[in-house]
Every structure is written in C-alpha cells, then in structure tokens.
C-alpha cells in the first residue's frame, strides 16, 4: 500500500520495517530532515561524540547480537569520520548499514559545502553502496541494504541519501521482498567436495581444525565440537574465531598466529591436515604462508567463493553454507569412522596442552593475570571487547571465550579506539550482560570521548586499562625488532584516567595489585555508570609468544 510521504519518512519507515531498534550517529545539515522524521519514530537514537565511534557502536551491536547494526553521519566530514568504523566492519565481515546524508543532487560533484564523493570513497570498503536519487527508491534500497549486509559473507552497506531526496514527497511503496540480480548469497556445498574432504581427513594422521570468524557468525560451533570429539583432534582458532567453540573444551587449544598460544602454533605446524572452517588464512594468522602450508593438506570450508585459493593455492575448497557443509562432513566421517581415541596425535595434543595451557612466558608480567582474573569474575556469556596492541594480544592469549559473540575485537583492520565504542554498542544489544573493554591507554585515548555517550545515554560498561604509559605494542617491537631504539612510543604523562572518567560523570579508580583489581572489578560490574579501572603495569612487559613478521609460526619468541 503506497503512502504519500517524504523520502526521510520513507527511510525511517523502511528502517522500522527492518525492525531496527537503535541507530548510532551524529546529525548534520544533510541529515536534519532524516532526524526530523526520526523524531516521530520509536527507534532509539544514541548520540555518539565522534562518527568513528558511532560506526564502532553499530558494529559492536551487530557482533554481539547477530543483528544488523545501523549508524548515521552527515555528508562530508561526518562521512569521512565514519569511514574508519565502516572499514573496520568490512574487514571483519560485520553486518552494518551506514546511512549518510548527502548534499542535494544538483550540488553533487561541485565541491559544494560539506560535499564529498562518499560513494566513491566507501566503495572499496563496503559490500554495496546505494545512492537513491528519488524518494520512491528508498524502500527498495533500505531493504536491499539489510539483505546484502546480513546474508552470505556479511559486511557493511552504505546508503548515501541526498538532502533533496529526503525532502521530496512521493507516493511510496514498500516492497516485502527484494531480488538483486547478480547476488546469490546462499550456496550449497558440493557433496563431492565434502566427501573428498572426509576421505582426506580419515587418511590423515595429525589433523587439526581451525575455526575463524565465519564459524562464530554462522553458529556452526556445536557441529565443530561434534567433529572434533568424533575424531579426537584439536580445535585451534584465529583471533576472529575465538568463542566459536568454548575455549575451555578439552580439545580447544586456543588461537594460532602472531600472538597464538605456544601449543596451538606448535600443533598446527606439526599437523598434516588443516580443516579451516570460516577462516581466510590471513597473514597474521598463518604468518609465513609457505612454511604454514608446507607438507600438509589444507581443507577450506567457507561461504565466500572469493576466499577459495586466495592465500593458499593448493588447498581443497568446500564453498557453501558452513552449517550445511560441516553437517555433511560429520555424517560422511561418521560413515567411515574408525575411532581414534588413543592416537599418538591425541597424546601429543594432550601433552602440549597440559604443559602450555596456563603457562605465562616472561618475568613479572601482570597483564595476563589481570586478564585471567576478568575471565574468573565474568559469566560465560558476558562480553569482552578489546582495543588494539598488547592489551588485545593478552586478551587473545589469556581470555578464554566460552560462547560465540562474547569476544569482540578488530581483527582485520586492527583499529585502535574500537573496543570502547564497540562495548557500548554490545551493551545496547545485551543490556543484561556485563561488557568489559580490555584497553591499552593509547587506544582508549582515541575514543575516550565516548564516555559522554555512555553516561548521558545510560549505557554502563567497564573499561579495564592496562596502563603502561606507552604505545606498548610499538614499544615491544622497538625493543625486540629495532634493538631498543625507542621513538614515539612513550605516552609521557598519561592523563589521570579515574579523574577523566569522573569529569564525564563516570566512575574511575586506579588499582593496586591483583586483589584490589578483583575488588573493583566486582564493584564496576554492579555500577550504574561506566567504570574505568586503571591498572598500572610496567612499560617493559612483553606479550609472548610473539612471532615477528615474516617468520613462521615455529619461530616463536617466548
């Protein structure tokens, strides 16, 4: 049924039809009409203090809930500020819809005030970019944007709406379904490829499963556990795959990669077959890819055909929906299954895991203990987000994610400043859960103004700052790789973080030792406002294991 409404009203109604609960954003000249229409809607608007944070909030909301996150910014500087957040979502395949205002059609391409080629600069970092040129196109574009963002390999979609299109009134229809020629997100795995994979797995002596972000998003975890238990083989993960299966499972060995666990890195290099599930074999995960794939068979289960043979040429790809392909794999293997309970491989896994699982390399390191304490205190389905740097790597190594969507990190882009706004977004999605951002002091300073959002919108999260007064990861590289030649890694006099938090109306405390930390963490969890816990640590702490760039996973520094 058509109604005579403005483009902005159509935009809001189309968002309501997608069951959008919340939009994160900042208004501007080119979105005022949209905001005016939003005033009549029940959709909640959360006012960010920087558009980058608005995008991270939408992203955090999406990652925690599995729903599409929505953010908005005005044209020009609003759109460019938002871009880092959208690129972050793109590299981690997170379903976010970004709505940007644009100058009126007649001004596009003429360097008008706050006019920038938004579609042009977003195109390489979104799954698709729409720019409706009439109000009547808006419902289709919105429906298509949500459909594209949330299906297949998920990712962000842009809708850039010129101001006159928002104002224009027209008879507007709302489609119930959209069809997009050239877009086929559902792919059924090829049974022959699955059978071949099953045969290779049965023949292998030392297989290992590697789960990635795709395994988290698809919820294929329980089937992966079934597969692993049936074969009694280890399950490693990528950074993005943390939580796909509970990391306290007796076959879980934790993440591999530049900062993978000692046993996971060792086991995957010793293995003779890797079952990659929802991974993309990125450089940070495999490190030296030639060494990684040498003398082993690589099976690659993924939804995205472009991932097949992208990084490893001689792999066997099984492209299709992971729930389908892994189910098929499980039943194929069940048919041929000889039980391998006490294989030498399982003994090796057990031996390494027992020895290294709780091992902390290096002397007098506080950070791993802090992270372990957080795990101890939080419930299994509480949520941790991270910033980027050493804090992220410590969280990767020592925080055991026990459920999917409970470990949220910028894996692909490595965006400092992601964790705090993402935590706010995650909290909006899961208000009854505790959300903790594991932060470095440098990263937190990038988006700490989101404290204003968290306080004024009543979205309390906990920020744990591992405060080493340095850009820790930079300092670690300068120490180890650049022979102690430090430059631009000292943060000098860092701000008084508890006072900073209080200035915003949040809570803050500087703790002294682990016991003190535990006490305040428990208090922070109960707090009705955001709570910043400042944990002083030595600027000299290193994250180990550490595989320097260009080296193989075997060459861990510990």
């Amino acid at each position: 049924m058509a109604s005579y409404i403005s483009g902005a009203q159509a935009l809001v109604r189309a968002l309501e039809k997608e069951k959008v609960e919340v939009i994160f954003g900042i208004p501007g000249g080119a979105t005022l009409t949209f905001y005016d229409a939003l005033k009549d809607s029940s959709i909640r608007h959360v006012l960010a203090r920087h558009e980058q944070s608005a995008a991270h909030m939408a992203d955090g909301y999406a990652r925690a809930s599995g729903k599409v996150g929505v953010c908005t910014a005005t044209s020009g500087p609003g759109a460019t500020n938002l871009l880092t957040g959208i690129a972050t979502a793109y590299l981690d395949s997170s379903p976010v819809v970004a709505i940007t205002g644009q100058v009126a059609k007649d001004y596009i391409g003429k360097d008008a005030f706050q006019e920038i080629d938004t579609v042009g600069i977003y195109t390489p970092v979104v799954k698709y970019a729409f720019q409706p040129l009439s109000a009547a196109e808006i419902p289709f574009d919105v429906k298509a944007a949500f459909y594209i963002a949330s299906t297949g390999r998920q990712g962000p979609v842009l809708i850039d709406v010129p101001k006159d299109v928002q104002i224009e009134k027209a008879e507007i229809d709302f489609p119930e379904k959209v069809e997009i020629k050239g877009y086929r997100p559902y792919i059924s795995p090829h049974p022959e490829a699955v059978r071949e994979a099953a045969k290779l797995i049965i023949q292998a002596q030392k297989p290992i499963i590697l789960v990635g972000g795709g395994a988290v998003k698809s919820g294929v975890g329980p089937k992966v556990v079934e597969l692993a238990e049936m074969l009694m083989i280890p399950v490693a993960s990528t950074l993005m795959g943390k939580g796909a299966i509970p990391e306290n499972h007796f076959l879980a060995v934790g993440p591999i990669g530049m900062h993978g666990t000692y046993h996971a890195n060792t086991l995957i290099m010793e293995s003779d077959l890797v079952i990659g599930i929802g991974v993309r074999f990125s450089d940070r995960t495999t490190m030296d890819i030639k060494e990684f794939s040498k003398d082993k068979i690589i099976l690659h289960f993924d939804i995205d055909p472009t991932e097949a043979r992208k990084n490893i040429l001689n792999e066997l790809p099984v492209i299709g929906d992971l729930n389908e392909s892994v189910s098929m794999l499980v039943s194929e293997i069940r048919k041929m299954m000889p039980y391998t309970k006490d294989s030498p491989w399982y003994k090796r896994v057990k031996e390494l895991k027992e020895y290294y699982e709780d091992k902390i390399f290096g002397e007098n390191v506080m950070s791993p203990l802090v992270i372990k304490k957080i795990r101890e205190v939080l419930h299994p389905d509480d949520i941790v987000t991270t910033e980027v740097g050493q804090a992220q790597a410590w969280a990767e190594l020592f925080y055991k994610a026990l459920a999917p969507r409970t470990f949220i990190t910028s894996g692909g882009l490595g965006t400092m400043g992601f964790g705090f706004p993402a935590a706010i977004g995650a909290k909006v999605a899961k208000f009854d859960k505790t959300v903790v951002d594991i932060a470095g002091d440098g990263s937190f300073l990038m988006t700490s103004n989101s404290l204003a959002t968290s306080v004024s919108e009543g979205i309390p999260v906990v920020v744990v700052i591992l405060n080493n007064s340095v850009l820790g990861m930079i300092a670690q590289w300068q120490r180890i790789v650049y022979n102690n030649r430090y430059i631009a890694s000292s943060l000098g006099e860092t701000p008084n973080f508890p006072a900073l938090a209080k200035a915003y109306g949040a809570e803050g405390v500087r703790v002294n030792g682990l016991e003190d930390f535990e006490k305040y963490l428990k208090e922070a969890i109960k707090s009705e406002v955001t709570y910043v816990i400042d944990v002083p640590i030595s600027p000299e702490e290193n994250v180990f294991p550490f595989v320097p760039a260009g080296k193989s996973l075997k060459e861990m520094i510990v």
Binding site: T123, G182, Y183, T306
Partner: protein, 164 residues
C-alpha cells in the same frame, strides 16, 4: 606465466560499475591494457572486455574478485591466444590520398572521405599496431583505437568461468 588475459565481464548497465571493476585492478597496481564496453542482447546488461597482463594465479584471483561485485553477473577469463580478438582503428590525416590508398590496400583497410581524409581499419590487434606505426609517415590529426574486443574460441584453452 605473465601473459595477456581477456576478461569478459557481464554487468548491470548502470553508473559506477566500471569504476568498481577497474578499481580492483588499480588496487593491485595493474595497468589495464584496454577496456571496451558495449551492450549485450539482454536489456539492462552490458559487457566489459578488459585486457591485462597477468599470470595464472593473478588472473584467477581477479576473476573471483570481480565476480564478487554484486553488479557483476558473469566473468569469463581467457588467455588472449584462446580468443578471437579484433580492434578498430580510425585516423584522420593530412596527406597524399593516393599514398594512403596504397597503405590501406596493404592492410585491407578502408579510406573514407567525408570532408577530411580518414582511414578505417578493423583487424588483428597486431596488425593495428603495425598500421599505426606506418601511419606516422602522415600528418595525423587525430587517431582513435577502440582497444580490443573478442570472443572466446571454440577450442580455446584455460578458460575460467564464474557466475550464472
């Protein structure tokens, strides 16, 4: 091995599609040797023919990345030797009519006269290359080449096909 590859890309006939495709090659610092675009028989679709110099691995990866674009319906990639390829050359010249006729005859080209002196040649890309070289003898006012368009040979080898 690096060699000339022809990509036949069937796309939605709308603004921005060519940009997205060429951007994929640009991102990896590939020079596009030629691009031609024309409508297909299907309404709302057109075909882009792109030639680049790449090895097998690169060609495969480009084909996949281009196919991933939502406005791309089909990608066929073939080494140039697996294609029947042609290029059109038009040149507006100043000079001896007769001499030009002689040159045209050698190539099987056509001399058109409509106010100015124009030579028109469609043929093998390598012949176009040679003819262009020979034309430098004349005073060239304007020369336009289309870049190649092609079809895959029936017995062409190493052809990749994605989509549809």
């Amino acid at each position: 091995m690096k060699k000339e590859r022809v990509f036949f890309i069937t796309v939605a006939d709308k603004p921005g599609v060519l940009f997205k495709i060429t951007n994929i090659f640009r991102r990896r610092n590939f020079n596009i040797e030629s691009v031609t675009v024309g409508k297909t028989l299907v309404k709302g679709e057109s075909q882009i023919v792109i030639v680049i110099n790449a090895d097998d691995e690169e060609a495969d990866s480009f084909a996949r990345m281009v196919k991933k674009l939502i406005d791309v319906y089909e990608v066929i990639e073939a080494p140039k030797e697996s294609c029947y390829a042609q290029e059109l050359l038009l040149a507006k010249l100043d000079g001896e009519h007769e001499e030009l006729e002689k040159l045209a005859k050698k190539y099987g080209a056509e001399v058109v006269e409509n106010g100015s002196l124009i030579i028109k040649y469609a043929g093998e890309p390598s012949n176009v290359e040679m003819l262009a070289e020979e034309l430098t003898r004349f005073k060239i006012i304007h020369i336009s080449r289309t870049g190649i368009t092609a079809v895959v040979k029936e017995d062409g080898k190493d052809i990749l096909r994605f989509g549809r």
